[in-house]
Amino acid sequence: MKLSRDKLKSSFLQKVAEMSGEDIASCYQCGKCSAGCPLEAAMGILPHRALRLLQLGCEEEALNFDAVWLCASCHTCESRCPRGCDLSRVMEALRMIRLRGGQSPVHPQEVDEEILQRAPQQAIVSCYRKNIS
């Protein structure tokens, strides 16, 4: 991986910092967030890696970090982070950038009819808000 000053100061990083309201540099990669994440198994990757990718200025990799779609915004990470860094907000920022860029991992037409019948309104609205551009 090549690093340079420009890579570490991109406007993309600035945008993530602003949208999340979090200081990306504050994370010291202790992994406490990952260790407690209830969706980590489904993600297949430790969620705190997202912060590391940002610290290293890896825009492309951060935008391909698909674990963001599995973040439930449960704030378990935030409640334990020793550095007061809210990973769920960083996840949201990455998600929003992708949603606003036109990506949508969920398409209402494709959602299982049975789920739409059974699931409470709350779950469906939440899901659409988090996953549809």
């Binding site: 779609w69 915004s73 907000r89 779950a123 469906i124 808000r129």
Partner: protein
């Protein structure tokens, strides 16, 4: 209706908000997603116009409304934008409560206990808090984020035996049950198994999504705990369920048999 009848029975009057709107289900986490705050803001402002505080029965609504309330009280810029957009004035003057908090702080659990006509004789019940009631702790200030007690006290007042189990504050998988069923099932099963291992006959929640996700997970477990909403227990214990059943607000035999 279960809640309103129960509350009436406890001498609390709950009014349904005239023009309520969905709270939006999730609190927007991106700092620039102000538009998503419009509907909870509108709900809060309507309550203010009606001259009342808000009570919710759902962890999710509590989470969204309480956080929005705190934000508009603290951030004048966002408040201004919302006021202009919704065309209502509101600066966080009202309070947002969860019914459990009202029962604890207004009624008092000891008073509640006195009103119980069908005590849940020693059923072991697992209180399930999940995420939205407790986190983020600074915003919610609901209970200790890792060692909450309020539901346990509530259950005890109704005559049940609360069990403590480590997963009571873990996430059930939330809305992922719509987009990624398997991951939800995994998370929710872990909660159920933990409650089961602690010997819970029932498990009580205060969030429809939790309830749904746990139901999904329960399908693949042997003798999972019975899942109930906290207002159902309340209505039953206060003896208003018969009335409700007659009026069609509570399906017959929703309540598991007590002994």
């Amino acid at each position: 209706m279960t809640a309103r009848e129960s509350a009436r029975c406890l001498g609390i009057s709950l009014e349904e908000l005239e023009d309520w709107q969905c709270c939006g289900a999730v609190f927007p986490l991106a700092t620039d997603a102000i538009i998503n705050l419009a509907s909870p803001f509108r709900t809060l402002a309507s309550a203010h116009q009606a001259g009342a505080d808000l009570v919710t029965l759902c962890s999710g609504c509590l989470n969204v409304l309480r956080r929005t309330n705190k934000l508009v009280a603290a951030d004048a810029e966002i408040r201004k934008k919302l006021e202009d957009f919704v065309e209502m004035k509101y600066a966080g003057e009202r309070k947002v409560f969860h019914l459990l908090e009202v029962l604890r702080d207004e009624t008092g659990f000891d008073q509640l206990q006195k009103k119980v006509v069908h005590p849940l004789d020693d059923v072991t019940v697992a209180p399930y808090y999940g995420c939205l009631l407790l986190r983020p702790a600074e915003d919610m200030a609901f209970d200790h984020p890792d060692k909450p007690v309020i539901m346990g006290e509530f259950l005890r007042a109704l005559g049940a035996k609360p069990v403590s189990y480590p997963f009571q504050t873990e996430c059930c998988g939330s809305y992922l049950s719509v987009s990624s069923v398997d991951s939800t099932r995994q998370a929710a099963s872990a909660v159920l198994k933990s409650a089961q291992a602690a010997g819970a006959q029932w498990l009580v929640t205060s969030c429809p999504t939790c309830l749904y996700n746990l139901e999904l997970a329960a399908e693949s477990l042997d003798e999972p705990p019975r899942l109930v909403y906290f207002t159902q227990l309340l209505a039953h214990a206060l003896g208003v369920d018969a009335y409700l059943e007659e009026n069609g607000a509570l399906a017959k035999n929703v309540m598991p048999e007590v002994n």
